[in-house]
């Protein structure tokens, strides 16, 4: 007979357990065990990993939890291990899940996803914290009794061990108290549920977990007639883990090891072998005076309890069986497969009406093919569920789009889950789902970032709280956190630890020592380690903590959907959002058959939604939108069908072939457009000159580290522009590789290449593709490929060549469906920028979706001739709004964008709300009285010119902005806030006296200059709105003889020029050959100049390379395509350091430098 460990904490007991479930299972199997428990602290965090590990090691899993228990008065009753009974169709496991959820009900939520790894959130929740999760003994008893069907038989076993109140009493030889407490446990719990847990860690006589302690527990069990089991209260797999457990104890208590009062007594809490455990049993029994028979009884009872807790992963826990919400919940009454087919038919009518002939046959074939696979896998209700979520989101008026391989499915397109027709782009269903893959496919839905939480809440409402929970994620130790906690354990000074922690950046803690030797930035630390023994230990402990879980938090996008039994299958605990989150993470979803939806927040979707709202608000009807956007109208003068009568544009219905949009993309003026605004992408679209939506897909797929590094782009472009003849390894591959001119870019092309050469079918082809790059499996794939291809008569040379391509592809291929899904918002954003730039830019300013500071997008509006309307206390709202500017004598009616009050430095959310609610105001006094604006805010509003318009309305007022600011500055003491009795009651109108305050102001100070205004805007709004920051440098730049960004395109390739501007982006992409290249983009108000700094130029620029905001750069032009030009930098100067500039800069520079030094620009 072997021995079964019933009390084992895995590493998923955060700050407690040391070993991973698979280590533990392998060790148990190695000593001959046939079952193993996992009893993590406070939750089932490691349960599913334990299940998988046990299945892999051939063990029966036992699942349980180690919980803090409270007695009837809420007093601490110590900890107990609770094990689920198995072999009862899940009654035990369900009770365990509900028990764990109940334990967490009402506890403080774990840290939310955002702060993961920073340590501040979870740190506060540890150690001296108020009480953590705990369960009352009564509730524990209620759950242990199980459901009515269990007919009074317990479904949980409770182990009363050395850490329980009973165990603690016996540790101090308080026998009477121990008996009384134990009797209470026995009375409250259902019959048969209570078992005494005997543990010896062979600690010194008189200490916790000594053999004498174990003997007292065993005697108590006999006295009370309770069964007793032997465990080793395991925290680590091997003796080696004991030191790690010490460090975790220290981290949990936030106390140095030397000062920690309750260290484990010694290092014996490891997974001992059956022989060792038998010896312990004999030692305890002998000490108790019962000899070997007592030991045999203890071991036999242990196995009896283990046997009733053996889980059937499939029948008890629903392992591997996908569960979707009930048909009735998703609103269907018939067989899901039938319903799915019906909805796809409806989708054809709606999305692809009138598809006939060859296209119609293709459509039918594809639909039939997909439905057959979906039905065969039993996933119809899954698709219907996702469709329901998608419909629900769009009913909420929230923009949504599927991302990822989901775009490969026609069914997804017909159900309006995705917005790409896979037939139009050669997307292969098998890349998404095939009959050989029995796991649920991933469908990710992008929604407006600003509405993501609303969407979550709505999903909970729609499906019911019993069917939905958020997914969690495990946050493990990384280098910085590990070094901090290791330093804490050793009692190092806080500053010393901080100094070291700051040096560490995103490499795994287990490679600390290696990194010390290699990384130049760690040279200082590595010197310290050599000198100081403690630092040497610090490195060792940091390595020990590496990757160990610290806490769980809400996953940034995962939502789990199930039927009404979901909460029987996963325990939940509060999340930072106030909604429950599962204790399971993404790796647990497939094994537990949980249906997970990724609902991601995407800022660009919010920006576009905002733009669409603004278009409808400002234009109001179809005709004016059509006119304003220059959209095609039919001969009757009616605009396109994607514009509603109310002026609302259905962006997802806009055809993907608008020539003006592609013209904008080719112009490389793509700032603000999704995915194609970076300097590198602007260069690529300039070179590639996309003409169709498919070109956009290719563009996005090429712009990845892999293709860029492996030089796929150059041959592609040469073939595309006809500079070099296309070549195909074999004519059979022409249809496969034609769209990319013979270069393999997409996963889909790899699948088809496999299929053409081996005839394996696309499902198998996807399996083969997944094995590429896998060292073990690839030789088998190669052999298969070569054999089949030779059998089909392909010549050896061709096979070699094609195999080389496939093999190389393993590292960098891209799924075309991903590219297609990305290309939709790319196209849509470019379309909006083309046709409704004011609304589009307002959306960008509002939601800030891209990589650039807002001020660059404001400069973009200026470049496009869109008026940027200043702050105005009566016109500015809490958002950036499009405003109509009436026609003047010289100019037709125009649209401009009014700055938002929201961006003002120091303005509180409450003030902002009051100001907007109270608009309009007829005087400063009115504003003070009704919006209760603070004095600093009044002054800032004045500085930013928000009262200029108010002043202009006052014909008698002669004073200007500067006078008002001065006045507000010195107002202190004369005009305080209006006393409460004088405040207007609601509904009372202020007397129309006009603004006496403004009228009575004496004009003294001159109006601030434009440059001064710009400086104020940068200080208080972090944008330059009145003029471009560079405008004030105009005299200096004339002296220097710089070239404006917009004029570069007219120059010949290789012309040497000087350019100047503000840095807007710096990138150092990885490069082939290892030599770093730095890309710096500067903005001069007429556009962006993208400059490449190669090694020599980097040496020249020195510290200016990364530190300087305002740059003067000398370089030579480099044509990148018909509309693209960039600069190869030769030398750079700090424009603000006028003394250093070449030529006559020194004299003319003074004016500019005073206006805006680099520190103000930095605010953006």
């Amino acid at each position: 007979m072997s021995f079964t460990h019933l009390h084992v904490s895995s590493a998923f007991s955060a700050h407690y357990g040391v070993s991973w479930p698979d280590e533990l299972a392998e060790a148990a199997a190695a000593y001959g065990a046939d079952a193993l428990a996992c009893t993590d602290r406070d939750g089932l965090y490691g349960t599913v990993k334990h299940l998988r590990a046990c299945l892999a090691a051939g063990l029966d899993p036992i699942v349980g939890v180690d919980l803090a228990v409270r007695d009837g008065q809420g007093h601490d009753a110590g900890r107990a291990v609770v094990l689920a009974h198995g072999g009862n169709q899940g009654q035990g496991y369900h009770a365990l899940c509900r028990l764990v959820s109940e334990t967490h009900a009402g506890t403080r939520p774990a840290a939310s996803g955002g702060a993961a790894g920073r340590g501040s959130g979870p740190r506060r929740n540890r150690g001296k914290d108020v009480r953590g999760p705990g369960i009352s003994l009564d509730l524990l008893a209620a759950h242990a009794a199980g459901p009515e069907e269990a007919e009074g038989a317990a479904v949980l076993t409770v182990l009363l061990g050395p850490y329980s109140d009973v165990g603690r009493a016996l540790r101090h030889r308080r026998y009477a108290e121990a008996r009384r407490l134990a009797a209470h446990w026995r009375t409250v719990l259902p019959p048969g549920a209570l078992v005494v847990e005997v543990v010896t860690h062979l600690s010194p006589p008189g200490e916790d977990l000594s053999t004498a302690h174990a003997v007292r527990m065993l005697r108590l069990a006999r006295d009370l007639g309770l069964p007793a089991v032997l465990t080793n209260a395991v925290r680590y797999c091997h003796e080696d883990g004991a030191a790690t457990a010490d460090v975790l104890d220290s981290a949990r208590a936030l106390t140095a090891l030397a000062r920690l009062p309750d260290l484990q007594p010694n290092g014996q809490g490891w997974l001992k072998t059956a022989d060792q455990m038998r010896r312990l049993a004999r030692e305890i029994s002998r000490t108790a005076g019962w000899g070997n028979r007592g030991a045999a009884a203890l071991l036999a009872t242990t196995e009896t309890v283990a046997d009733r807790c053996r889980m059937d992963p499939y029948r008890d826990m629903g392992y591997g069986r996908p569960v979707a919400p009930e048909a009735s919940v998703i609103g269907i009454s018939q067989e899901p497969a039938v319903e799915l087919a019906r909805r796809c038919e409806a989708g054809i009518d709606a999305r692809l009406p009138g598809t006939t002939g060859r296209a119609g046959r293709q459509l039918r074939d594809r639909l039939e093919h997909e439905l057959a696979i979906i039905t065969r896998l039993g996933f119809a209700s899954y698709f219907l569920t996702v469709a329901e979520v998608a419909r629900m989101i769009s009913d909420m008026g929230v923009r949504a789009a599927a991302r990822g391989s989901g775009a490969s499915s026609l069914v997804n397109y017909l159900l309006c889950i995705s917005h790409v027709n896979p037939l139009d782009h050669g997307l292969i269903f098998e890349r998404f789902l095939s009959r050989d893959r029995s796991t649920l496919p991933d469908i990710d839905i992008d929604v407006e970032s600003a509405r993501r939480h609303d969407v979550y809440r709505r999903i909970f409402e729609r499906f019911g709280a019993q069917r939905v929970t958020l997914m969690s994620m495990q946050n493990g130790y990384r280098a910085r956190g590990a070094v901090r906690d290791a330093g804490l354990a050793l009692g190092l000074e806080e500053e010393d630890i901080s100094a070291i922690a700051k040096q560490l950046w995103r490499f795994s803690a287990s490679r600390f020592r290696e990194a010390l030797a290699e990384k130049p930035e760690l040279r200082g630390v590595s010197g310290l380690v050599e000198q100081d023994r403690q630092l040497d230990l610090l490195v060792d402990l940091t390595e020990r903590l590496d990757r160990l879980p610290r806490h769980i938090s809400m996953h940034p996008c995962g939502v789990i959907l199930g039927d009404r039994t979901l909460l029987d299958r996963t325990p939940v605990q509060p999340s930072g959002l106030g909604l429950p989150m599962s204790q399971f993470d993404k790796h647990d979803m497939d094994p537990m058959g949980m249906l997970k939806l990724d609902v991601l927040g995407v800022r660009m979707q919010s920006s576009m939604a905002y733009a669409l709202d603004e278009i409808a608000r400002i234009h109001r009807d179809k005709a004016s939108v059509t006119a304003a956007g220059n959209h095609p109208a039919d001969p009757a003068g009616s605009g396109p069908s994607y514009i509603g009568a109310d002026g609302r544009i259905d962006l997802d219905a806009v055809p993907l072939d608008d020539e003006a949009t592609f013209e904008l993309i080719r112009s490389t003026h793509t700032l603000g457009c999704f995915q194609i605004e970076s300097p590198g992408q602007r260069e690529l679209v300039g070179k590639m000159a996309p003409r169709t939506f498919n070109d956009l897909i290719i563009d996005i797929s090429l712009f990845r580290p892999g293709p860029m590094k492996s030089d796929m782009v150059r041959p592609f472009l040469e073939h595309r522009h006809g500079w070099a003849p296309e070549s195909y390894p074999h004519p059979d591959l022409e249809p496969v590789l034609g769209e990319t001119h013979g270069v393999t870019v997409f996963h889909e092309q790899v699948l088809r290449t496999f299929d053409v050469f081996t005839g394996c079918g696309l499902a198998k082809a996807d399996e083969l593709r997944r094995l590429l790059g896998n060292e073990e499996a690839e030789p088998r794939v190669e052999e298969y490929f070569r054999t089949c291809a030779a059998d089909r008569g392909y010549p050896a040379g061709t096979i070699d060549k094609v195999w080389d391509t496939l093999k190389a592809f393993g590292s960098f291929g891209f799924c075309k469906a991903h590219g297609a899904a990305f290309a939709v918002p790319t196209y849509q954003s470019a379309w909006l920028k083309t046709h409704h730039p004011e609304a589009f830019l307002a959306g960008l300013w509002e939601h800030d979706p891209g990589m650039y500071p807002r001020r660059l997008l404001i400069a973009e509006a200026r470049r496009m001739g869109i008026p940027i309307l200043p702050l105005d206390i009566n016109r500015s709202k809490d958002t950036y709004r499009v405003e109509r500017l009436p026609a003047t004598v010289t100019e037709p009616e125009k649209l401009g964008i009014r700055l938002s009050l929201a961006g003002i430095y120091g303005l509180s959310a409450a003030e902002l709300k009051r100001i907007v609610a109270g608009q309009p105001y007829d005087s400063l006094a009115d504003l003070r009285a009704r919006a209760k604006v603070s004095r600093p805010t009044m002054k800032r509003l004045a500085q930013l010119g928000a009262f200029d318009e108010l002043g202009r309305r006052e014909p008698a007022a002669l004073a200007g902005r500067a006078d008002l600011v001065h006045h507000l500055d010195f107002l202190d003491g004369t005009t305080r806030a209006v006393p409460p009795r004088c405040r207007p009651i609601q509904g009372q109108l202020a007397l129309p006296l006009g603004d006496l305050e403004l009228r009575n102001l004496t004009p003294v100070f001159p109006e601030p200059s434009l440059a001064e205004k710009v400086r104020t805007e940068l200080d208080l709004l972090a944008v330059d709105a009145s003029a471009h920051l560079m405008d004030s440098y105009a005299p200096l730049l004339r002296t220097l003889g710089t070239t404006a960004a917009k004029d570069l395109l007219g120059l010949r390739n290789g012309t040497e020029v000087l350019v100047a501007g503000i840095r807007v982006a710096t990138q150092t992409p990885p490069m082939r050959g290892g030599r770093r290249v730095v890309f710096i983009s500067i903005d001069d108000g007429t556009g962006c100049v993208d400059c490449t700094f190669f090694h020599e130029a980097q040496e020249q620029a020195g510290p200016l390379l990364f530190g300087t905001r305002l740059l003067l750069i000398r370089g030579t032009t480099r044509r990148t395509g018909p509309r693209g030009i960039s600069l190869q930098a030769l030398q750079a100067w700090d424009l603000a350091d006028t003394g250093s500039l070449p030529g006559g800069g020194a004299t003319a520079g003074a004016a500019g430098a005073r206006v805006a030094g680099p520190e103000q620009v930095g605010a953006g």
């Binding site: 600690s203 006589p205 090891l257 230990l537 390595e543």
Partner: protein, 108 residues
């Protein structure tokens, strides 16, 4: 808590039973027989203060060490003495770390 380790220690030779329990030891060139069942425990160490390194994979003996308390008698003598022995490794090196009812101190 750490006892007298490091103050009075001297190596001793110990013979063990097949189960790994000490039965006899040689101390001061004389052979002592173990006369009662020995008591064994694992004593914690302040390893963070005592050790230079604590690298992962170091194995047993960092956090605690094994102590045996034995009662011994010299062949032909009646006096029984109680000794604490520490074992490092298994089978391993033994050291005498404490003499309980010593009439003379080790260092004398």
């Amino acid at each position: 808590m750490a006892g007298a380790l490091g103050v009075f220690t001297e190596p001793v030779e110990v013979a063990c039973s097949p189960a790994g329990e000490p039965v006899r030891l040689v101390w001061g060139n004389r052979t002592w027989r173990i006369v009662a069942e020995p008591v064994r425990w694992y004593q914690r160490r302040s390893w963070w203060a005592e050790e230079q390194r604590a690298e992962p994979g170091r194995g047993a003996g960092l956090v605690d060490h094994e102590i045996w308390r034995v009662q011994v008698r010299l062949e032909g003598h009646r006096q029984i003495r109680t000794l604490d022995l520490s074992r490092q490794g298994n089978p391993g090196r033994w050291r005498l770390i404490k003499i309980h009812d010593a009439v003379r101190s080790m260092s004398a």
